[in-house]
Symmetry: C2
Subunit: 170 residues, 2 copies
DNA sequence: GAGAAATTGTTAAAATTTTGTAAATCACTG
DNA sequence: CAGTGATTTACAAAATTTTAACAATTTCTC
């Protein structure tokens, strides 16, 4: 386990710049995403504790959605004391800071790779490989808002989830 | 057809109060909706049994979504033997024939008033009064499909639910 | 009416989510 | 660096939602 506080500040800075630039995708993303998330939380005065980091990392590593119990089973491998509440509290935190989204139509959770940007988002969920793609379509939002408006309805939160087949699986 | 202009103003006022109280709406639409549903099912060779009718009626009478246990509690008043499975089986049937929709973002169910038409639909869910409005926007569908397509994704089913404040509650 | 199919009764349990309380940890202050 | 208050975690329990399994019953078909 890496102790981030032990690293020299120049190293950390380099890593964070690295992360921000988003250059690497496959090899480094877990580390850089977690670093970015840590900084994002700490900037807001929130504590990105080890438990929360572990749950977030599990979700980042999986390229798709995970149920709470699947997360729990994974977490238990390194956290003997993990119980349902452990997962749900970590998720509450991560959801609050938009580091994670909830997929309503499958009772599951996905890591958000671009937190800090403008939400809300929409999801494309592959029935075949389980991959979850998060998209941000201003058009979708606008269309829904407009539709709602014609019915005199004021939208606060929106849930837009599509299940189907992704590019790779066709 | 009644010509309201002929009626005395006090009569008209009474009628309007009556209507506002929703009495006409609930008495008449429930019956006709249930009749329509029955015929719709029987045309397809499906059995609109008493249990299924009761569950459907409960959902029609409520102008909004109900959870499974809320339905169960209501059903128990006339069906002593009702258990969770009773509700879920009835719902399975009703969902299969699109007489009822599931609201994913609140684990609840609403009656569909215009089954037989082309689905899918979108929901406007009022946080204040619980009312659920079902809309059918071709634009929404098209926009989602198009967005998905640009990501190489083929949509099979879509979940579009907006939570907010309805016209009456603003 | 006999046999097949669908529906319901009953029981149990799995899966998901929330709550409460006490203990541990952290952050801050003097 | 000890004390204090706030936050987080451990632990226990339970509420909510959903599904499974199998027997009993009803309905349909021939």
């Amino acid at each position: 386990m890496i102790n981030y506080k032990r690293q020299s500040s120049t190293f950390v800075k380099a890593m964070l710049d690295f992360a921000d630039n988003n250059i690497i995708n496959s090899v480094m993303t877990t580390q850089s995403s977690v670093l970015k998330a840590r900084r994002y939380c700490e900037d807001k005065g929130a504590r990105f504790t080890l438990l929360r980091e572990k749950v977030y990392t599990l979700l980042i590593d999986r390229n798709g959605a995970m149920g709470a119990y699947e997360l729990l089973d994974e977490l238990k491998k390194t956290e003997d004391s993990a119980k349902p509440a452990t997962i749900y509290r970590a998720l509450d935190f991560l959801l609050e800071f938009d580091l994670v989204h909830r997929i309503e139509s499958s009772n599951a959770f996905v890591a958000c790779h671009h937190f800090g940007c403008n939400h809300p988002v929409q999801f494309l969920i592959c029935e075949s490989c389980g991959d979850v793609q998060e998209i941000q379509s201003a058009g979708m939002q606008a269309t829904l808002d407009k539709q709602a408006e014609t019915h005199g309805f004021k939208v606060k939160t929106q849930t837009i989830e599509a299940h189907g087949i992704c590019k790779n699986c066709q």
